[in-house]
């Protein structure tokens, strides 16, 4: 349920967040019920003007064909339509065909999928291409999905943008975190992890950040534990999206006082480089065998003069100020 092939460039740029909630049995509901539950459980969302009992209240049955929009009449910063979708013959997964990276957060996924009898897909698009609206769309989708995840019959969730599975409890927790204007990075960002035991290196690549921030993050193969590679990707994502870091090609990531040659170097790889489909921040560990200069050319960064620091410090409240600016005014 991502952008169709005949979508315009503008439509392609505006991301769509699809969340599949798998259910133990078919479920009947109306879009008005879901709207009312959304306002009840997440009153912090800036959504008003909703009429759950109005003429746009649509009865849905996940045993049938469902393509029902909701929040059509809503007003407010968080108001934009969400579509509930269920297409017969879709929404089933064969545990044997699921790569391990997709089920990292759901160790008992096979058992859960065995109980999957029906599903509902929550699909929310962003109003525009800005990071703020992308966040709002992801949050709106997560909160609506969480309403279904709170039901006793919810067994598992597939977060399509991150191409990974989550537990219903994790989605409820992600909604709570997003409501406090923070990115639930573990849930919203999938990871492709790789380990080469022979060479003793690990690598990690984000999946789905492009929909949130217009870029992905790749940790180039380096002799570090796999968990460290994953942590570097998720931490950098948080720094870029939530903590207000404004990095340039060639900057380094390290603890205070750490020499640049001992730090992880950030290289900006523009969309189209070696066929890449979006901009990528490449994290190059000092012991990585990857030659980033060969890959993207020499860095344009110039070291700071001796005795001077060019640290790009975080602005911890950056994102919260941005999203709350209008709400608090």
């Amino acid at each position: 349920m991502s952008a169709p092939e005949n979508a315009t460039d503008e439509e392609r740029k505006t991301p769509l967040f699809d969340i599949y909630v798998m259910l133990e049995e078919p479920l009947q509901f109306s879009t008005g019920e879901i709207e009312a539950a959304l306002l009840e459980d997440y009153p912090m969302l800036d959504i008003n003007g909703v009429d759950p009992d109005g003429p746009l209240n649509i009865a849905c049955d996940t045993d049938q064909f469902v393509t029902s929009p909701m929040l059509m009449t809503a007003k407010g910063d968080d108001a934009h339509f969400v579509t509930l979708v269920r297409v017969p013959g879709y929404g089933t997964w064969d545990p044997a065909q699921i790569p391990a990276r997709q089920s990292i957060q759901v160790p008992d996924l096979a058992d859960r999928l065995a109980r999957n009898r029906s599903y509902i897909c929550v699909s929310a698009g962003a109003k525009d291409d800005t990071p703020l609206e992308r966040f709002r769309a992801a949050r709106r989708a997560t909160c609506v999905a969480a309403l279904f995840c709170k039901l006793p019959g919810a067994v598992a969730v597939y977060w399509q943008t991150g191409d990974h599975f989550l537990t219903p409890e994790a989605v409820v927790s992600a909604a709570d975190k997003a409501i406090s204007d923070s990115y639930p990075m573990m849930e919203w960002c999938g990871l492709q992890l790789g380990q080469d035991a022979e060479r003793g290196v690990s690598q990690a690549l984000s999946v789905g950040l492009n929909a949130l921030g217009g870029f992905e993050i790749s940790f180039a193969a380096a002799p570090v534990p796999l968990g460290d590679a994953a942590n570097h990707v998720l931490t950098t994502a948080t720094m870029l999206l939530e903590l207000g870091h404004d990095f340039s090609d060639g900057d380094t990531l390290g603890v205070e006082g750490q020499a640049p040659e001992e730090s992880i170097r950030l290289r900006f790889v523009p969309e189209g480089t070696n066929g890449s489909t979006c901009d990528t921040w490449l994290l190059v560990h000092p012991q990585s065998p990857v030659d980033a200069d060969e890959l993207v050319g020499p860095s344009g960064s110039v070291p700071a003069p001796p005795g001077q620091s060019e640290e790009r410090r975080s602005d911890m409240g950056f994102f919260k100020r941005m999203i709350r600016g209008k709400r608090d005014s």
Partner: protein, 149 residues
């Protein structure tokens, strides 16, 4: 086939079994003087909000629970309601329950005959150890001292 409204109601409504049992002796004590007005109900609801047992219910939820217990007392009688509460509660929660009842009785600084009888019956059913009973009376008495004490 499941209904969203039914599943949601079943999953999100907090279980009030323990809260009801803890509160029943306090409501009985409150009713012991023969009448209950809104201020007494509000006072008891406010008292409950500091307890983790009642926090998930919220102020309106506690007020509704008090009204439900009152109706139950009128329908089934004090004996049945308090016996059921005692059977539901652990020894530790019986002490908690008795503390609430004692606080209600001492709220106006005076314990009348009806309140004394209600408390005595409750303490007896709860089989509270004598020393615990004395401790509760002492501490609640301390809490309700007037400014002139």
């Amino acid at each position: 086939m499941a209904l969203f409204s039914r599943l949601r109601g079943g999953s999100s409504a907090p279980d009030t079994t323990i809260a009801r049992a803890v509160l029943a002796p306090a409501v009985l004590t409150m009713a012991a003087d023969g009448s209950i007005d809104q201020s007494e109900t509000t006072q008891l609801a406010n008292m409950c909000m500091f307890s983790p047992i009642f926090a998930p219910l919220g102020g309106d939820g506690v007020s509704k629970l008090i009204a439900d217990i009152l109706t139950d007392l009128q329908k089934r009688g004090a004996d049945a309601v308090i016996t059921e509460a005692v059977q539901t509660l652990s020894p530790a929660l019986r002490e908690t329950s008795f503390c609430f009842a004692m606080r209600v009785a001492m709220a106006d600084g005076v314990m009348d005959e009806g309140e004394k009888n209600a408390l005595s019956g409750t303490a007896s059913r709860m089989e509270l150890p004598q020393e615990v009973f004395q401790q509760i009376i002492t501490v609640v008495g301390m809490m309700q001292r007037p400014a002139t004490a």
